[in-house]
Symmetry: C2
Subunit: 195 residues, 2 copies
DNA sequence: GTTGCAAATGAACGTCCGTTCAATAAACTT
DNA sequence: AAGTTTATTGAACGGACGTTCATTTGCAAC
């Protein structure tokens, strides 16, 4: 009736975040109770408070982790070469990163309104950093003369929305492979900015 | 302590839906209580049940109304002419319709997961109808030879995501007018599908 | 001016919520 | 093997939830 066999914070901690992520992605933060998360992990609700000070912090940690992962993964990419090939790599990177993290993406977009003002500002700053990376590529292409874009900021927002929207309809058992979809999206992206 | 002066179902009913829409768009369905909605209307919680059988039905009604309005408004548009001008009108229509209904759009996209299976199916069917309208234009353009699109279904989903994404960043007091934004988006849309 | 209908009240129902905490058992250290 | 630390239980807290309903009041028609 107390500590269970094989229990360790290093295994329970990740399980808590995984369960919270899955449940919040499915039903929304407000619709998921701490008791439901605990049940998914296999503990009582009180045990969750060894891993998070409260529910809001748990949500913010999930979103912040996702954004940090995104920025770090992007920084590890190859940023050399001309604007056209950089744009192609961005497109491919964005699709692959987001399609393999559908729960994180869902939570990070849907639960923004449940964050406190300061936590919201932190997430938004990271998101603007990522958007800025794409805008930088678009500006470079303008300078090279290979792109013709009336407004690089708007174009960056539009392209990211287009790419991320893929998460809303892609299904593993669908008609097309990820590679095929990547090719189709790259065609759309390339043509939309090409001079 | 009972019926209030000037109370009529024809005024209270719409106020209930407006308050529910605004609050659900801001905080999410699960995060908004019937008591909060009632307070916004200026009645007690019990009075809401003169206007909806339960909370779930209220949410579904809001979403269904939005989709019906969308399909009806689209049907009233001019559908004549060549594919290129039809696509331009679709782009303009979509932006104007969605930008002027940000709360409805927000709720209709964010609260899908809170619908029962059958209600979800109804909304999805309407959404597919709208997506099909765009895909029809793209197919027509292919037939005319003015568009070059590897997959019209994917392109339709991608373009709608791009256009609807505008709702996530547009602000009335922003740098650009709606007309300017329409022009930028139309450039992106046109170029992305042009032969 | 009475009657009948419409609209809202406010209290109540049982249930679930996030969170706290003393007690307790497992794991680790020596 | 004893002692310390770590992880969990289970009960409890006050409060909020969606929903129901007998009651009361305002309105409209005769």
């Amino acid at each position: 009736m107390a500590r269970k066999q094989g229990s360790h914070s290093q295994t329970t901690g990740p399980k808590v975040r995984e369960a919270a992520l899955r449940l919040i992605a499915r039903h929304g933060c407000a619709a998921v109770s701490m008791r439901q998360i605990a049940a998914e992990v296999g503990v009582q609700a009180g045990a969750l408070y060894n891993y998070t000070p409260d529910k809001q912090s748990l949500l913010f940690d999930l979103m912040q982790s996702h954004m940090l992962e995104l920025l770090e993964a992007w920084n590890l990419q190859d940023h050399s070469g001309d604007a056209m090939s950089r744009l192609q790599r961005f497109t491919q990177f964005h699709i692959q990163f987001h399609l393999t993290r559908s729960d994180q993406v869902f939570v990070s977009y849907m639960e923004l309104r449940n964050l406190s003002a300061e936590n919201f500002a932190k997430i938004e700053a990271m998101r603007r950093g990522y958007e800025g990376a794409l805008e930088g590529i678009l500006q470079a292409g303008e300078a090279e003369g290979v792109f013709d874009i009336p407004d690089t900021r708007v174009a960056a927002m539009a392209l990211i929305a287009m790419l991320t929207g893929l998460n809303n309809w892609y299904r593993d058992d669908g008609r097309l492979t990820i590679a095929q979809i990547e090719q189709i999206y790259w065609d759309l992206v390339r043509k939309s900015v090409e001079a």
